[in-house]
């Protein structure tokens, strides 16, 4: 555990070993063979020399980048040390979407020879963490050796950003294996391999190199490594890594994480959330109506999203251009619920991912968070970080890590597309969550595209302070409620030639819903209910078997009609009398509010008129409370007893209408 942490706490100093072995006059460079790294508080220095495998500091402190050292040089001033490298990648650095290309589970200690011309292979010499690690070349067809120390990494394949290929065996001659010094001894002696020609690589590559001592205070603690393997940073390499360990905040943040990882009893580490699976598989729909019902369920994913072509195109173009340019940006999408905002964005991402698969556009990561699916706005950081890197952290730490990630320059970083649903719930008093979300895309190296969704069109003006609203920018889109034609088209396309509805019935539903809310979910739910009603009345005369007008009418009635009237009609005699008394008292007072005592006097009078025995106060209060619990009446707290104030929750006309019909 302490292995990499100590590194950050200690200052390292870098020194050339020996004299320059070569010089490039034109570039004013002086080449060296090896470099020694001394660490504060350690007596022994670690030495790295050409051809050796080294660790380079990267985004992830737990899994530093692996590379082979090819050249070491300094510029004429002699201050800046530069290293030329051949990169290797770990599986966790391969983009998530490409990992399956391997076709098998990667060996935990497997690394890949990295071949990409576009990749910068020069780094600051001072990002070298120190000595050596590495690997055995394993021929493709052979199994991985077992029983070896966990510190050995294996090379088997080559990764060229598109696919895994067999590493050319010609490159890999199992020849002279350099001596592997026992761990904790001094670093291996420099081997003189000054020129970075392929043959050198070959030889070095094929060597067996057990981990050399990295005398920078690390211990061979494989437990710690396995523990941390859960929290790998899978980011692509930040190759031109500047030394970021200079950031003073680093160690402190680090310490914080340390405290929280092992100490607090968390969710058992290996708990995998899942619902048990059923014994028998679910039954498939049997007849036309069941089929139609399954297709009409909101959850069923339609083949295409009709009626949102324009919005789809706009969002698609926006995201695509950002991904291609490798820049960042924000977009705000608004619309009332059930107008297909989230569905459209998902559709866009799906088709973008498809074209990324076919290498038409660069690869990108898609991350989705939802303001309603978190308990606190600051959890947004935690969720983003977890989805990005599988790392668990506290909100503050996560914010710091993300900040670091999005502001660090790294040419090979993938673009991240972040969807923030229900944006309004991320509002905090200082609005720093929103501020950060919109600020990151504006960083030069962030490569972050943020799509935000909320219901209200004027959210930026209403709740955001100026600096947040300004960063959100003016790329806005608003989803209009569906018109009846669109709703009809949606249902038709969902049904997809399953003939279950009469044409008129569909039109009725869509017109009704369009007039009320334009919510597609509602429309689908009504259709579903209509199929049920049809099924139950199926045996009756309407033998067409299709869902007709009458069924739809019934479904609409169920969902839209207010239940107050029928509740009043079904109320008991005393309850009805009490409602009458309330209205009578309101008329007498000329107010819309009365106390129980006042109404009760009316109630008793009405009882006498109706020839019933007048109720006593307790009974009256019970009746009143029953009406209150249904919310036909609005009541104050019952401790006020006689003086609790009563108001009607229904219009007087409705009450009179309901009572008259009896």
């Amino acid at each position: 555990m302490s292995r990499y942490i100590t590194r950050l706490r200690m200052r390292r100093t870098y020194k050339w070993n020996g004299r320059p072995v070569g010089e490039d006059r034109k570039l004013k460079r002086q080449y060296y063979e090896s470099m020694s790294i001394s660490v504060e508080g350690k007596t022994e220095d670690a030495t790295v020399s050409l051809g050796q495998y080294i660790l380079i500091e990267g985004d992830d402190d737990d899994n530093p980048f692996v590379a082979q050292l090819l050249k070491l040089y300094t510029d004429d001033s002699g201050k800046k040390k530069t290293a030329v490298l051949q990169w290797f990648v770990r599986m966790c650095e391969v983009p998530q979407s490409k990992r399956k290309l391997l076709g098998r589970d990667p060996h935990p200690q497997e690394i890949f020879f990295y071949q990409d011309r576009s990749c910068d292979n020069e780094v600051d010499g001072e990002t070298i963490l120190g000595a050596v690690q590495v690997g055995i070349y394993v021929p493709v067809q052979d199994p991985f050796p077992v029983g070896k120390s966990r510190d050995i990494l294996f090379v088997k394949l080559l990764w060229d950003t598109k696919s895994f290929r067999a590493l050319d065996p010609e490159l890999m001659q199992p020849s002279q294996s350099p001596k592997s010094p026992p761990p904790s001894s001094r670093g291996p002696q420099p081997r003189a391999l000054p020129t970075p020609d392929p043959s050198v690589m070959k030889r070095a590559m094929s060597g067996i190199l057990t981990r050399g001592s990295m005398s920078t205070g690390k211990m061979s603690s494989s437990e710690a490594e396995s523990l941390h393997s859960a929290s790998k940073l899978s980011a692509a390499k930040a190759l031109s890594a500047k030394r970021r360990s200079q950031a003073v905040s680093g160690p402190q943040v680090r310490k914080k994480l340390d405290l929280c990882t092992p100490a607090t009893p968390r969710t058992p580490r290996h708990a995998t959330p899942s619902i048990p699976s059923r014994t028998a598989p679910a039954r498939k729909p049997g007849n036309v109506l069941e089929e139609a019902r399954a297709r009409l369920h909101v959850s069923s994913v339609p083949e295409s999203l009709p009626c949102r072509e324009q919005e789809f195109q706009d969002i698609y173009n926006f995201v695509e251009s950002k991904v291609i340019d490798g820049t960042g940006g924000c977009m705000y999408i608004s619309g009332v619920p059930g107008t297909g905002k989230t569905a459209t964005v998902h559709e866009v991402i799906r088709s973008l991912q498809q074209s990324a698969e076919q290498d038409e556009i660069p690869h990108f990561r898609f991350i989705e968070i939802n303001g309603m699916k978190m308990t606190d706005p600051h959890q947004a950081y935690v969720q983003i970080l977890q989805k990005l890197t599988d790392q668990k952290a506290t909100p503050d730490h996560a914010a710091a890590l993300l900040e670091k990630r999005f502001s660090a320059p790294a040419p090979k970083k993938e673009t991240v597309v972040l969807l923030v649903d229900e944006l309004d719930l991320l509002w905090t008093r200082k609005q720093n969550v929103m501020y950060n979300l919109f600020d990151w895309p504006t960083r030069r190296n962030a490569r972050l595209v943020v799509l935000t969704i909320a219901n209200t069109m004027d959210l930026p003006e209403r709740i955001m302070i100026n600096r947040v609203a300004s960063r959100l920018g003016l790329t806005r889109m608003s989803f209009q409620p569906y018109t009846f034609k669109q709703l009809q088209q949606i249902i038709t396309s969902r049904l997809n030639r399953v003939k279950a509805f009469e044409e008129d019935a569909l039109q009725l539903v869509s017109r009704k819903v369009a007039a009320l809310s334009g919510d597609a979910r509602r429309c689908l739910d009504i259709c579903r209910r209509a199929t049920e009603i049809c099924e139950h009345s199926g045996s009756q005369k309407n033998s067409s078997g299709l869902v007709g007008m009458s069924h739809v009418m019934e479904a609409l009635d169920e969902m839209f009609s207010s239940s107050y009237i029928s509740a009043i009609r079904c109320a008991s005699v005393q309850e009805q009398l009490f409602l009458r008394a309330v209205i009578a008292e309101f008329r007498r007072l000329g107010l819309e509010e009365a106390t129980f005592q006042q109404v009760f006097v009316q109630h008793q009078a009405l009882c006498r008129v109706e020839g019933l025995q007048p109720a006593n106060v307790s009974e009256g209060l019970t009746v009143c409370q029953r009406l209150g619990s249904c919310r036909l009446l609005l009541l104050e707290g019952s401790r006020l007893d006689l003086f609790l104030r009563i108001r009607l929750n229904v219009s007087q006309d409705d009450v009179l209408y309901a009572l008259k019909a009896d």
């Binding site: 708990a271 679910a282 959890q379 009504i526 008793q604 106060v617 249904c630």
Partner: protein
């Protein structure tokens, strides 16, 4: 405050009360405490257990030989046991009465979730005591008898009165689902982790392979008051997306429950509502009473059950009984109030009179319908009664405006000086003491105007009694002096 009460009730349940007399006394006490309907509703369920203890010794074990005639006492205790189970909602009825279409609708809906893995959401709305829980219980019983559903369905039951916020609700869900972050009875992790864990679990499932989960949310309206309605949003969102099949069943008595939902939550709800409004006529109501009181044909002692059933039929034809039942029916149509009436009547049956008589029902009705303050008034002294009459006069004179002690005392003095012969003069401190007692009984309550402290004599008060209640108390008061009665009846003090 509600919850505190609830806890006390649960505690009270553990202390058996031994005679029905003390039970009746306690009932008055409790009803005097002005419950909110929610508490009353919970209490009536919780007290069901207690009633069982009140009504005598444990029933004799049922004889194996059916034909053997039981002794009178055995027959009675067996009959009482049967009826108690029925009336205390400990046993579901075989078939819900008058809710056939709702029953079919709900059963069909849940069957589709269980068998086809279709997600649904539905609200069952009806006034208190209309049989929402009973309906759901019957449906679930039927559902679980299906082979396909039995082993597949997971049931999660939540109650808005118990799970008062989303944090507790989430832990409860995780516990009931036996997810893997449960160790023993404890759920690990913070609120945020729990939510993420549960959502992840639900997300991993799919329509055809994972077990459907039924979420029953009792007192659904209370869940709508949780912060951001996070739980409802997430449950309903799962029900509308291709994840683990769920059915969200809400039970509530609020008709306006949909207006409580935020619009994005509302949009995710399927807008299915099953309303339980009873449209029972009085004749049907009488039939229900008869059916509820009758013993089943498989009662071990046929002779006893014949006699009993005959007496029940006769009872229902009786004019007085019909009048009582009609008053109860007029008051409310729900069966819970009927059950508490019948329960009191049934528990009066004993060896000395082995059938239900009309007197039992009349006595039960008297106990139930008595005004909650009548008993309190009954125990007042003459002086206190006089003060109340003085207050009543003040109320009449000043049309319900609040008064203070000084005014009451003046009124009282006037009465003593002018009319009274039987009541001797009380010192002012004595009268003050009596007044304070009334204050303690909450028959008088200060008007909280929020102003600074006023001298006690001048603090404004209100009488918490109706005109009719005062007159009724005077009528019933034993040996009330005539001049006091006359004073009360006179129009002006």
């Amino acid at each position: 405050m509600c919850l505190k009460f609830y806890g006390e009730l649960l505690e009270a349940q553990n202390q058996p009360v031994h005679s029905s007399v003390s039970w009746a006394a306690e009932r008055h006490l409790l009803s005097a405490l002005m419950w909110t309907p929610e508490i009353r509703h919970v209490a009536s369920r919780k007290y069901a257990g207690q009633w069982r203890e009140i009504t005598g010794p444990a029933p004799v074990k049922m004889s194996k030989r059916r034909s053997a005639a039981l002794t009178g006492a055995q027959g009675i205790s067996l009959a009482q046991k049967l009826l108690r189970e029925r009336l205390c909602h400990q046993k579901l009825p075989d078939q819900p009465v008058g809710l056939d279409s709702q029953y079919k609708h709900l059963l069909e809906l849940l069957r589709r979730t269980a068998v086809h893995g279709e997600s649904n959401s539905v609200l069952i709305v009806g006034p208190r005591g209309s049989g929402k829980t009973m309906l759901l219980g019957c449906v679930l019983r039927e559902l679980m008898s299906l082979k396909e559903a039995q082993k597949n369905v997971l049931l999660v039951e939540l109650n808005g009165l118990l799970q008062t916020d989303d944090k507790i609700a989430l832990k409860e869900i995780t516990r009931q689902l036996h997810l893997e972050n449960v160790v023993g009875d404890k759920v690990f992790g913070s609120f945020a982790e729990n939510l993420a864990f549960l959502l992840e679990a639900l997300k991993k499932g799919d329509k055809s392979s994972s077990r459907p989960v039924l979420f029953v949310l009792d007192e659904f309206d209370l869940f709508a008051h949780h912060k951001n309605q996070t739980l409802l949003y997430n449950l309903l969102d799962v029900s509308q997306s291709a994840q683990t099949p769920v059915a969200v069943l809400g039970l509530t008595c609020r008709l306006d429950v949909l207006e409580l939902l935020e619009k994005r939550v509302k949009s995710r709800f399927s807008h299915r509502q099953i309303h339980l409004f009873s449209s029972l006529s009085f004749a049907q109501y009488l039939d229900v009473v008869r059916a509820q009181l009758s013993l089943p044909p498989d009662f071990p002692d046929p002779k006893f059950s014949d006699e009993w059933n005959h007496s029940v039929t006769k009872l229902c034809e009786d004019k007085t009984v019909e009048e009582i039942l009609r008053r109860n029916f007029n008051g409310s149509k729900d069966f819970r109030s009927l059950h508490s009436l019948l329960f009191l009547a049934v528990s009066r049956v004993s060896v000395s009179h082995s059938t239900l008589r009309e007197a039992d029902l009349i006595e039960a009705w008297r106990l139930i319908s008595v005004d909650s303050k009548a008993n309190v008034l009954h125990g007042l002294s003459i002086l206190e009664l006089c003060l109340i009459i003085a207050m009543k006069h003040l109320n009449d004179t000043y049309d319900g405006e609040p008064f203070n002690f000084q005014m009451v005392h003046n009124e009282f003095k006037k009465f003593i000086q002018r009319k009274s012969h039987s009541i001797h003069k009380f010192e002012k401190p004595v009268v003050m003491k009596a007044f304070e007692h009334l204050l303690q009984l909450e028959l008088v309550r200060p008007v909280d105007s929020g102003v600074c402290k006023v001298q006690r004599e001048y603090q404004l008060m209100r009488l918490m009694l109706e005109h009719g209640q005062v007159m009724e108390a005077l009528q019933r008061y034993p040996q009330c002096p005539t001049d006091v009665k006359q004073w009360a009846l006179s129009a002006f003090g």
